[in-house]
């Protein structure tokens, strides 16, 4: 269990029964910070307003400003109205809980956490401080040797150093921080050893050490109280400029530059390329150690409420950036987690849902518009990639830049931003704010907590919720990849073997003809990468995607085709059909009208001024005129059929498609259109016959296979539908709709084992289980 879990009193700490403390000193510590769990329980009944009773909200006193600016903020709890609780909090420190706090502190000291950070990292660099060179280099390597000495346990000896010219402020900073830090990095050593180490460090740096004068550990509570007093001071009316520790933090810096504060302040003092660059090159262990060294104890305790320890630098920065909303959300989820943990159903206790909520409450997960992302792990990974020897930061960044076209707004955005040293600091902050304003934490925590409290959820329903979370987490993987396509941007495949092919268009046409749709997609992608203005390449790519049952990509490709050739009739019809499928009437109408207007024969029927205010009735009338003009033109009947689909006049649509089929009996896509229309007008049995015709003409027609599945499912024949979906997916595993429908059908026949296979996209298993 990580220290943060203990400190924050996560799920593991909040098990029913162990209400307050005795078994868990860190829980006591957490409770001292957060408020006792019984208090939290009481608070829960009155969410959202009573949430302010949580004392630690005190530390973010200016939070009300950004919150108030957000939509829905009227639901948010007030941050500033809890002074009584605040004083209770501080009293807790001074009196009753002081012992518990001390115990908790000792417990923290004994946690092997920091040692673990050191283990598993790269082998120790030699502890050989090079003691010549420019002052900042000397200081740097000397501090390294101080940190390194923790691993070996070798006492650090006072070393005569060249004149470093440290200012009084530097000295104070180093002295204060090193005495705190030493207790972390030498957690397994005795007090004497720690003092000796610190003394050696300080005397080497010619810093006067007053540690002994203050007694063995006077710094602990003094630190806490200082922060508290500062934050209290800030709470006074008119003085809500910044939170206490952030102010303190800023004061330690000579300039208010951007974060990595300490490194930067040194950079500013000692010139660029000094210790700051050293700092970036260090491996992650020292980095962490040093960042702890210069961050106040309390800030760590608090920030670890929502960010993993490893994210120290960022967490402080994010706080400073005003991301208080995250804390509001976390506060809500923590309370929810607590309520849920009172549910005695063991299944529920072990559910991923509860784990999920707990993780949310600890800030390990945050919810983006479309995805849950692990807040810290992601970040930590990024961080390690950046700092851990091999993968150079530059490579990482170039790679991120390259993929930015595709992953424009992804969740690792802010991690990348961080890597880019916050060049776009503001946008990142905005993103956070947006994310959390979307969370509506108040809403659901209130409603859900309430219902759970009333035991409105039966036994089975908690399973439902638990299951849905497994589902949810799986969805996110897919959502990430698909979110771009949904915005109309074509998403190219990775690792396309047809790149560099001599004539990918010809290859693509050949593959399409053979019905190898997914292969054809790759070849055609290679073509349009080579010739981005090739309308035919894009058109065929769009058609292929549509037949492969991927409408989003189909629309994206067709839009490019239309850009390249705005009057291509096939493209216009395909766009009309795709938008009809997506139930987007206005867009569909526009393209179908475009078809008429650009048609060499019927263009005269379409008055250009109509294009600005399209009404369905007008367009339908024009197409009927066209159909009367040349009843032998199958295409007109096809467009009419699509139009009638748009207005849900299915009988007319079916008649139009049947007329067209008399003229074009071998058009498999026409058979599919007929089938889809019949299916949508709940004539599923007829639809299946039409789909069968289409599949006889084109056995690899993924869309028709998927439509077959839909027809069976709509008739309640889920078992059959599963076989067809699986068949479609075997031909195109990227057909997302089919995956979603497959999942619904699997749950309808209560095949939870196979739902798992579906979630992990284990086609092999599904095909074995559901052969056609």
């Amino acid at each position: 269990m990580s220290m943060r879990e203990l400190v924050t009193g996560g799920a593991a700490c909040a098990v029913p029964g162990s209400s307050s403390s005795s078994s868990n000193p860190l829980g006591a510590f957490a409770n001292a910070l957060i408020g006792s769990s019984s208090k939290t329980q009481g608070v829960l009944k009155e969410i959202p307003n009573a949430a302010a009773a949580s004392p630690h909200a005190q530390f973010y006193p200016h939070a009300d400003d950004p919150v108030a600016a957000l939509p829905g903020s009227e639901l948010d709890r007030p941050f500033l109205q809890s002074n009584p609780q605040g004083s209770e909090f501080i009293r807790g420190f001074r009196t009753a809980d002081a012992n518990g706090l001390a115990d908790a502190w000792e417990e923290i000291q004994r946690q092997p956490h920091f040692d673990r950070v050191y283990e598993g990292a790269t082998p120790a660099p030699p502890i050989q401080p090079s003691l010549d060179g420019p002052p900042q280099r000397v200081l740097s390597s000397f501090l390294h040797s101080f940190v390194d000495s923790s691993r070996s346990g070798i006492p650090l000896h006072p070393t005569p150093l060249p004149l470093l010219g440290l200012s009084q402020g530097d000295k104070q900073c180093i002295r204060d921080r090193s005495s705190i830090m030493a207790r972390h990095i030498f957690a397994d050593k005795s007090e004497e050893f720690i003092n000796a180490q610190v003394n050696a460090l300080l005397s080497s740096l010619e810093i006067e050490n007053d540690i002994h004068a203050r007694g063995p550990m006077p710094g602990r509570f003094r630190e806490l109280e200082d922060y508290w007093n500062e934050s209290q001071g800030v709470l006074k009316p008119g003085a809500h400029a910044a939170d206490g520790w952030v102010t303190e933090f800023s004061q330690n810096r000579p300039h208010h530059g951007d974060l990595e504060a300490w490194a930067h302040s040194f950079e500013q003092k000692h010139g660029a390329g000094g210790w700051a660059s050293e700092f970036e090159q260090m491996d992650i262990r020292s980095n962490l150690a040093l960042s702890f060294l210069f961050f106040p104890l309390l800030s760590r305790a608090l920030s670890s409420l929502y960010v993993h320890e490893q994210a120290q630098l960022t967490s402080v920065d994010q706080m400073r950036g005003g991301n208080i909303e995250s804390l509001a959300a976390i506060q809500q989820t923590r309370m929810l987690a607590h309520t849920l943990s009172q549910n005695s159903d063991p299944k529920f206790q072990n559910s991923k849902f509860l784990q999920f909520v707990s993780k949310m409450s600890r800030g390990e997960l945050i919810i983006d518009d479309n995805q849950v992302k692990p807040a810290s792990e992601n970040w930590a990974t990024e961080y390690q990639q950046q700092y851990n020897g091999g993968a150079s930061w530059a490579d990482e960044f170039v790679h991120d830049e390259a993929s930015r076209d595709l992953v424009f707004r992804g969740p690792d955005h802010w991690a990348i931003e961080f890597g880019a040293e916050r060049l776009q600091q503001e946008s990142v902050d905005d993103q956070w704010v947006n994310e959390f304003s979307k969370l509506h934490a108040d809403d659901w925590a209130e409603e859900f907590g309430h219902q759970v409290g009333e035991r409105a959820l039966g036994d089975s329903s908690s399973d439902n919720w638990a299951n849905s979370y497994d589902e949810f987490l799986n969805e996110q993987l897919v959502a990430k990849q698909r979110s771009d396509a949904s915005r109309g941007v074509y998403v190219f495949s990775d690792m396309n073997p047809y790149v560099g092919h001599q004539n990918p268009l010809k290859e693509g046409q050949e593959l399409f003809r053979k019905g190898l749709l997914s292969e054809a997609v790759l070849a055609l992608e290679a073509e349009v990468m080579k010739n981005p203005e090739n309308a035919e390449g894009w058109r065929l790519l769009g058609i292929t995607h549509a037949e492969n049952d991927d409408d989003q990509q189909a629309i994206a490709a067709m839009m490019r085709a239309q850009e390249a050739d705005p009057t291509n009739l096939e493209v216009l019809l395909a766009l009309g059909v795709s938008h009809t499928n997506e139930l987007e009437q206005t867009a569909a109408l526009k393209y179908l009208y475009g078809w008429l207007r650009h048609h060499p024969k019927y263009g005269t029927l379409a008055p250009p001024e109509l294009a600005n205010s399209l009404y369905y009735a007008d367009v339908a009338r024009l197409f009927n005129e066209a159909a009367q003009m040349s009843p032998e033109d199958a295409d007109v009947h096809i467009v009419l059929g699509v139009l009638y689909n748009l207005s849900r006049e299915y009988d007319k649509a079916i008649a139009s498609f049947k007329t067209a089929l008399k003229l074009k009996p071998n058009d498999y896509s026409l058979w599919n259109k007929l089938g889809a229309t019949q299916a949508n007008s709940v004539q599923s049995a007829d639809a299946i016959l039409a789909y069968q015709q289409a599949l006889d003409l084109k056995p690899n027609y993924v869309r028709a296979w998927a439509n077959m599945g839909i027809s069976y499912a709509n008739q309640g024949m889920y078992e059959e539908s599963i076989r067809y979906y699986v068949r479609a997916l075997a031909m195109n595993p990227k057909a997302d709709n089919a995956w979603q429908y497959l999942r619904i059908s699997l749950s309808c026949v209560s095949r939870n084992d196979m739902v798992e296979a579906c979630d992990s996209r284990n086609l092999e298993l599904l095909q074995k289980e559901f052969p056609l």
Partner: protein, 123 residues
């Protein structure tokens, strides 16, 4: 032509026919509840159109429920409703995100699953 632009309209129209089919009758047997679904074009609570999905009688009607209280009332944005009805988004997740608001009995809401909606076929 319908005078609104809601995608959900199509689905509810489809559902009217669907509930008359055998599969639809199974649904009424299985669920037997009345839902009111409010669909907003852009933002929940604004310009909402209400549908009653009566899975007792097997009817879909436009407009607010008359004759008592529905078992549960849901509010969605048009897009989000389509996502939930087609299985792109799970109802619980929609609720979590605030994409779906629920009033009424949560146990009735639990039965609100994507399989009560017919799936649109694609041309």
């Amino acid at each position: 032509m319908a005078n609104t632009e809601l995608k959900s309209d199509n689905l509810f129209e489809m559902m009217k026919a669907h509930l008359a089919s055998d599969a639809g009758k199974e649904l009424t047997k299985k669920i037997g509840l009345v839902y009111q679904i409010n669909i907003a074009p852009k933002k929940i609570g604004f310009d909402e159109v209400s549908y009653i999905v009566d899975l007792k009688k097997g009817e879909v009607t436009k407009g607010k429920y008359e004759g008592g209280k529905p078992d549960a009332i849901f509010s969605f944005k048009d897009d989000d409703f389509m996502k939930v009805a087609t299985g792109k988004m799970n109802p619980q997740i929609a609720f979590m995100r605030g994409a779906m608001k629920i009033k009424g009995s949560l146990s009735a809401a639990q039965k609100f699953t994507p399989d009560i909606f017919p799936k649109p076929a694609k041309m």
